[in-house]
Symmetry: C2
Subunit: 162 residues, 2 copies
C-alpha cells in the first residue's frame, strides 16, 4: 500500500481558508495534514509522521497531536464526501466545501509509540445536510492506537473575514 496522498482536499481549499495550523497548506510552520481517498474505497486517509518534539511521555506521541490529527482529518474527510455528493471530485477545478469542528471525541486505546507512521482512516456519515459525523481509526504502523468520533459542520459564512 502506498503511504502518500496524491490529491489531498486541503490542496484545493480557497486561499483565505488555507492557513490552519493543522492542515493549512499556506501555514509556514503547521503540521500540513493532508487528507484524501483511501485508494478506490469510500474511506478517507491522512498520514502523518510525528517529529521527536511531539511527545507526551518520552517514547510516546503527544495526545494533543493525535487529537489535532483526528480533528483536521475529520474536517477534510467530510469535505471530500460532501464534495463528491455535490457531484465533484477534488482537482476538477471546483472549490471543496470547508468544515469546522462541532465536537471532537478521542478514545486513546494504547500509547502511540514515537517514530511510527500514523495513519488515520475515516468513514463519513451524513446526519444533516450541514452536519456530518466522521468515525476514525488511527493506527501507528499497524496497531490501532486511537479512535475518533467527530462532528463536522459546514463552515458558516461569518467565519470569513471580509
Amino acid at each position: 500500500m502506498k503511504e502518500y496522498i496524491e490529491k489531498a482536499v486541503q490542496d484545493y481549499y480557497a486561499e483565505d481558508i488555507a492557513w490552519c495550523y493543522g492542515c493549512g497548506r499556506l501555514h509556514k510552520k503547521g503540521h500540513h495534514f493532508r487528507t484524501g481517498w483511501l485508494d478506490d474505497t469510500n474511506q478517507t486517509v491522512t498520514y502523518y509522521r510525528p517529529n521527536e518534539e511531539q511527545i507526551g511521555i518520552p517514547g510516546f506521541v503527544y495526545g494533543g497531536l493525535i487529537a489535532s490529527l483526528i480533528d483536521c482529518h475529520s474536517m477534510g474527510s467530510a469535505a471530500l464526501v460532501l464534495h463528491r455528493k455535490n457531484g465533484h471530485e477534488i482537482g476538477d477545478g471546483t472549490e471543496p466545501p470547508r468544515f469546522v469542528t462541532g465536537s471532537l471525541h478521542v478514545d486513546y486505546l494504547k500509547p502511540t509509540p514515537e517514530g511510527a507512521l500514523l495513519k488515520a482512516i475515516g468513514i463519513v456519515e451524513e446526519i444533516h445536510p450541514k452536519k456530518w459525523k466522521v468515525y476514525t481509526e488511527m493506527f501507528a504502523n499497524d496497531t490501532l492506537c486511537a479512535k475518533g468520533e467527530v462532528v463536522a459542520v459546514v463552515m458558516p459564512d461569518t467565519f470569513i473575514k471580509k
Copy 2:
C-alpha cells in the same frame, strides 16, 4: 482576579515525565501549559494566550490547540485533586501523581477569537481510584467557547523508560 498561577502542578512533575509538548516544563518548544488551584476553591485553572500562528480559520484559534489545552489541563487537574486526596499539596516536597488521557471530548460552542486570553476551569470527579473525570469550561476573555469532558487515568509504571 489574578491571571497567573504561582504554583502549578507541572512545576513539580518528576524530571523524566516533564517533557510533554503540551505541559512539560522541560520541553524546549512546547506550550508550557500550567495548571493550579483557582484561588481557594476546589476548581482548577489553566491560562494560555495562543500566539498568532495557532489559528484554524484566520481570526480564530486552532481547535487542535484548544483540545491540547483541555487535555493537559485535565491531566494536571486530576493530579492536583489526587495529590490533595493523598494528603499532599503541591510544593510540599512530594511528587504529584501523573495521569495519562483515557478519552477526550470537546464541544466547540463558539469560535474562539485570536488574541484572547484562554482560561480553562476544571472540576474533577473520582470515578475509580485510578480513573478520574475532569469537566472543563474554556473561556476566551469572558466568553464560554468550549467545554471538555476528559477521562484521566493514573499513569501505569510501564510508561516510564528504564
